[in-house]
Amino acid sequence: MTILLFENVRLIDPAAGLDRPGRLLVRDGAIAGADLPGAEGAPEGAAVIDGGGAILCPGLVDMRVAIGEPGFEYRETVASAARAAAAGGITTMAVLPNSQPAIDDPALVRLLRARGEETGTVSILPYGALTRRCEGAEMAEIGLLHEAGAVAFTDGTRAIADTRTMRLALTYARGFDALVVQHPEDPSLARGGCATDGELATRLGLPGIPAAAEAIMIARDLRLVELTKGRLHFGHVSTAEGVELIRAAKARGLRVTCDTAPPYFDLNETAIGDFRTYAKLSPPLRGEADRQAICAALADGTIDAIASDHAPCDADDKRQPFAVAAAGGTGLATLLAVTLAQVHGGSLPMIEALGLLTHRPAALLGAAAGTLADGRPADLCLFDPDRAWRVDADDMPGRAQNTPFDGRALEGRVLGTWKAGRPVFAHPATGQAAP
């Protein structure tokens, strides 16, 4: 029996509304009490970890991650993504199915889960393809994929363009109470575009995508949710109009949810500067008014989760003229710290911010993760909310280095990460041995 005792920590368990100084006991990899009334000393044989007043919270649950496996291992592998996740305090990640091959077969779902277990550092929750090969035409085997452990269904970064297909998928998924996740962008409006329509794209001579491409897709899909009574989640929402539609739909009682990603509340389109391809994302970075609307939607609860939207790209695919460069940015290692900027800026309470990174995405995916409840696997993240650091694209954990936050000064550093009670990451400054 191994016993771990975290002492001198600020315990935050958003699912339980817990936020106070305390201790946490871990027995055999499972949480064995967030509270030890009266017990001053450590249980016999316990390894004591002095948190030095840092925050101890559930390991983060990242609900939107692209990894290169299978098919694009030169971008990132499960192993390298797992290293980046551990450094970012992430112990559970849901991975997108638009790989090569697409995750449209139950065997592939099982494979990905097993690949996660092999790492020993991060649980992989596979998304199942919503349509075969993520091509947007014929429905994938949603039932079989669900049975094999797919947590939700999506075509990843491809929107389901065909209205009839989307209607069918939403309707059919209801039979399994399965969540459908949409990339909210009208593909025909987005075709060929690489920046948000507006002054900057005009000046740079870059083909634009109107911000309305998001609202148009969201508006259509909300109407389909009313028609089908399905469950729908919008990934990485990024516009004022988009969140306003979702806010109104929630008020009407529709079963819709959404997430956003750090670039959309921390950066705006000016980050692309003079053709900086690391800031080329999909959807593209928006104007400042949209960024502010995303911050407001985080604060008022319209947005249900924050996901890293991690999208590894090969350096050669980024060292291209802007319009032909690959879209996407890494995000695992910066997810927590960029989110904390909202806390430090006063627009989001700490416990709410952590909730958006833990139990709320876990609940959306039906995953038993993201809480400090007794008996749960001890997936933990210890972080100093005030420790300053600077993002350096040449020195990121994992293989892919294409962070849109290069040079960003941040406050909040992960000190240690534990997966089922085992240390999987230790920041060098903590003096603890790295696993």
């Binding site: 002054e199 005009t202 083909p207 291209q320 319009a323």
Partner: protein, 321 residues
Amino acid sequence: MSDGPRAAPHRFFQHPTRHLLGVQGMHPTRIEPFLDLAESYALMNRSRKTPRDLLRGRTVINLFFEDSTRTRTSFELAGKRLGADVVNMTVASSSVNKGETLLDTATTLNAMRTDLLVVRHAQSGAPALLAQKVEASVVNAGDGTHEHPTQALLDALTIRRHFGGLHGLTVAICGDVSHSRVARSNIHLLTAMGAKVRVVGPPTLIPGAIGALGVDVHYTMEEGLRDVDVVMMLRMQRERMTGGQVPSAREYFRFYGLDRRRLAVARPGALVMHPGPMNRGVEIDSRVADSDQSVIREQVEMGVAVRMAVLDLLSRAGEPT
């Protein structure tokens, strides 16, 4: 003729960077030296007395990823009239891995000790990417729909020669503004120099945010050309007319082609300009293109002079004053 006429102030002027990637953000005090020097080169070109040893021993490479005989020839002449070794490289841009080619090319050019690199590329920002990697001075000879700075300079010089200056003039830029790097560079340059700029075209070919660049937008030629001093036509790409942005060439000419009737609402003696090559009967009527008001031929002449000034000034950008 090394001691040929040179406008004195320019001996002390230095362009602040090694490169000329765009006009956006250039202050008039940075623009005028190019125009002044080009003016003197225009005179020298006419008298066939150019300083042939000015760039002797320097290598100018015309690196064209997009075919453009006119611009390439203009740069080639400019380099040769200043005595540089000029080499033309045309790179097929059909390969999928364009960027890799671009950066590999940069390495190659460094090894060849290129002094001035003139780049034309179908992608916005490609010369800027190249400029990060090459040791040579980079001149943007047109990138995607971003900028075409030497075209704007030669247009400004042409206008200045007729009106004595640019301040207070009204210039209408007409046609496919959305896909035009010529329009963007001209908008930046003309507004910087104090001219009033209008853009005129069908709404599908005018970017919605163009007003932020300090121009007025008109959707009819009758309104857009009223009382203007200069009418600048843009080349209409044929693929736009089959791509759905405009229904047909004949409809386009009917509403946006420049003919004598439309030109009549402009100021008497207004200049007619076109960056070439023209689509006669699509965006411009031959009788207008060949009329006394047309300065299209002069634009080509000024093109060589402007490019001489650009090569001259950039080649001196790193030297101590």
